[in-house]
């Protein structure tokens, strides 16, 4: 994806929550590729994104979300 500011903000946030470098977060990043993406950190990530963007995700949306790309799409769909 192009350097859309919202995407970059999400990348920064994700890196912060997982405790990794921003350069480690790619579209395909997921709990399968990043060991720090534990189930607990997944929920922390969801809460942090909700708080930052003022959104509320459903349980289904949070459990369906696998990759960073999914996260970007989810936020876009809520904000749009």
């Amino acid at each position: 994806m192009a350097s859309d500011p919202q995407v970059e903000q999400l990348r920064s946030l994700t890196a912060e929550v997982l405790g990794v470098d921003e350069s480690d977060i790619t579209d395909d990043s997921s709990s399968k590729t990043i060991p720090q993406w534990s189930s607990f950190n997944h929920l922390t990530l969801m809460s942090t994104v909700e708080e930052t963007f003022g959104l509320t995700f459903s349980m289904q949306e949070m459990t369906d979300l696998q990759t960073f790309r999914d996260l970007v799409n989810l936020v876009h769909s809520h904000v749009a």
Binding site: E8, L13, V17, L43, T44, S47, E51, M59
Partner: protein, 671 residues
């Protein structure tokens, strides 16, 4: 060198500025990196990345105190979930470094996933200047943690144990079943109480020095019986109240030092619907919403502050628009709003009532007002709306001097540290000045509307104690008696005869070894006394009890003082470690109120007499200097000890017990 901060002070690209600071840091250019982080924070004070960057730099330079201040201020100003978790991580990293004296070991176990709650707890504990060291029980493992003597919890050696098992886990039938039979209710009640008894008994046995905080049972948001719950015999609410009554009964009978937490009240206050995020509960068994975790951790903090003796001792109060509506110098006696049924007079009266309740609990009140005394006293003495009276104020400064100077004088007059004071004033300019000039004082941010004053006061978690002693209940009166003593001193001082003054006081003393009535007060003094305290060692009530029971190895002494002006109560403590030939003074402390009258000589004399009788040859004293205990620095030399050596931070002194008789002051009457 670009800092990405333009001349107008805006950062055009925050991300680039952060990246740049990170590069500087990686290159080892710490001073430049620090400048960069600070410029970013000036424009974006809510930047977590910049705060973390700055904290890291300060840490690497060994300036941990500054780093901690920075982090504390940040998370206090921006307490969002992400910041709390990040700050908690940093506090966790600091667990093994820094001042031992500030560390507090807390274990938290219970139902559900408690890791986030631990993070909120870390941040709450850090906010009062302590270093949290937290053990979080694994999911569902509270019984294993508390029942096995060699469990990781007991190995952790906690000072505080929080047991947070919920109603639905311990009492599922009572909490949720539609129409349980009387037998089902009773069987579950008994087995649930037995389980709690097991947990507490084991905690008492394997962590006897720890203070336990036990969640009582909260009532579920809804009852299976709907609106018929209360009118049905044995409805859900009544069943849970019966369970809580049984818990409190157990505590009163066998576990008097366990602190029950009124979870139902805390949840109700927050709003039951705000307590849990059901999504997080269903997905990960996280029992509480972040907003409630913030509240709950501050409730835990009340106990922690009390156990650690960090309770504030005095509230300094403004008058105009703080204790009454209006400005007495302008509106006059009849123009101010106080008391009665109309607003805001009724709000101010309630506020005074709440302050009076704290006073009755042992917190001192002081006045600091910019006014003419002639305008003020008629109101305080005569106005029908006044709840607080002249004699309720332990210190008064009514003048036109700046409040910071007045507050420093008040602290000195009351002989308490500035960090024991809380300042309440409606005027933001006054608050700002005091915050700046005397930052050690806790200046409370008052709401603009007096309607909210009482709630603001009650929500402060600074005034808790773990035991209400007689001294607490009499403290106000004690300060009044002190005024009378001062006046007597002034009159005899004119004659220049100190001995006449001392004899004239007719001081009576009573020296005892500790018993179960005096132990709470002894522990309280041990934890609060800073100035006349030779070693400033802190012990919990449980630890003092252990020492008092171990009469072969320990002597726990207390001294009670009274004179013709009043009874000061138990005001001195000594802990002495006994061995066959040599006794060592582990702690020797005295309330400042009774210094200068030979009380410390009397207590020491008793210890020397006992040591002699026991066959010991020498008495060892230790002086460990702190910021506050200069008043006790000369104690040992004045008592005839000889200096032996300096060991680490301690100065070691010795007295040959048989040498030149140490005498009891002749103006004291020993009971």
């Amino acid at each position: 060198m670009t800092t990405h901060v333009t001349s107008t002070g805006f950062i055009d690209d925050l991300k680039a500025a952060i990246k740049f600071a990170q590069e500087l840091s990686r290159e080892g250019k710490t001073d430049e990196a620090e400048r960069q982080w600070r410029s970013i924070l000036e424009v974006h004070p809510d930047s977590l990345a910049a705060t973390k960057g700055l904290v890291q730099i300060l840490n690497s330079r060994g300036e941990q105190g500054l780093a901690q201040d920075q982090l504390r201020r940040f998370v206090s100003a921006y307490p969002i979930h992400a910041n709390v978790l990040a700050a908690a991580q940093q506090w966790e990293a600091w667990e093994k470094t820094g001042d031992d004296v500030k560390r507090i070991r807390i274990a938290i176990v219970g139902s559900g996933t408690l890791n986030s709650l631990s993070s909120y707890l870390r941040v709450a504990v850090a906010s009062v200047g302590l270093q949290p060291v937290v053990y979080t029980g694994e999911f569902g493992q509270w019984a294993q943690d508390l029942l096995a003597p060699d469990s990781p919890l007991f190995k952790f050696a906690p000072e505080i144990i929080i047991i947070a098992v919920d109603t639905q886990t311990l009492f599922p039938v009572n909490a949720l079943k539609f129409a349980p039979t009387a037998e089902e209710i009773d069987v579950e009640l008994k087995s649930g109480i037995a389980h709690i008894n097991e947990l507490l008994s084991s905690a008492q046995k394997y962590a006897p020095a720890a203070t336990v905080v036990l969640h009582t049972m909260a009532v579920p948001d809804y009852s299976p019986l709907g609106i018929l719950d209360l009118s049905s015999q044995g409805g859900q609410r009544q069943r849970i109240e019966a369970i809580n009554a049984a818990i409190l009964s157990l505590l009163q009978e066998q576990y008097k030092r366990v602190i029950p937490l009124d979870l139902e009240r805390i949840e109700a206050r927050h709003g039951k619907s705000n307590v849990r995020d059901e999504r997080m509960w269903y997905m990960a068994s996280i029992p509480y919403d972040p907003s409630f975790m913030a509240v709950l951790s501050r409730e835990y903090l009340r106990t922690i502050v009390a156990v650690r003796g960090l309770t504030k001792k005095c509230i300094v109060l403004d008058l105009d628009n703080t204790l009454w509506g209006g400005v007495v110098g302008e509106d006059g006696y009849n123009g101010i709003k106080l008391g009665g049924t109309a607003a805001p007079g009724n709000a101010f009266a309630d506020f005074q009532k709440a302050l009076d309740t704290l006073r009755q609990r042992g917190i001192l009140l002081a006045l600091c007002s910019k006014n003419n005394a002639a305008d003020v006293w008629p109101v305080i003495d005569n106005h029908p709306g006044m709840v607080l009276k002249r004699e309720h104020f332990a210190a008064v400064r009514i003048n036109w001097q700046d409040k910071a100077t007045n507050i420093v004088e008040i602290a000195r007059e009351l002989n308490i540290g500035l960090d024991s004071l809380v300042f309440l004033d409606d005027n933001p300019a006054e608050r700002g000045l005091v915050r700046q000039q005397v930052p050690q004082v806790t200046t409370v941010e008052m709401p603009k509307d007096p309607a909210y004053y009482t709630r603001t006061l009650l929500s402060l978690d600074l005034f808790e104690t773990v035991a209400l002693t007689e001294e607490d209940l009499r403290r106000g009166a004690l300060y009044q008696e002190q005024q009378a003593r001062k006046q007597f001193e002034e009159s005899t001082a004119e004659a220049g005869d100190l001995k006449a003054y001392l004899r004239g006081l007719q001081i009576q003393i009573k020296i005892d070894t500790a018993n179960s009535f005096t132990i709470p007060r002894i522990a309280q003094l041990i934890n609060k006394t800073n100035q006349f305290n030779v070693t400033t060692r802190r012990y919990t009530e449980a630890q003092v009890r252990s020492m008092a029971e171990d009469i072969d190895n320990w002597g726990v002494y207390s001294i009670n003082v009274s004179d013709r002006f009043g009874d000061s109560g138990l005001t001195g403590v000594a802990l002495v470690e006994k061995s066959r030939d040599s006794w060592k003074i582990d702690s020797f402390l005295m309330s400042c109120r009774v210094l200068g009258r030979g009380i410390e000589d009397a207590l020491l004399h008793k210890i020397i007499t006992d040591a002699k009788a026991h066959g010991a040859q020498e008495l060892i004293g230790e002086f460990i200097p702190t910021e506050k205990n200069a008043p006790s620095a000369d104690f040992f030399v004045n008592q005839g000890f000889t200096f032996i050596e300096e060991a680490n931070t301690a100065m070691i002194w010795k007295l040959e017990v048989s040498a030149r008789g140490h005498t009891m002051p002749d103006w004291l009457i020993e009971l």
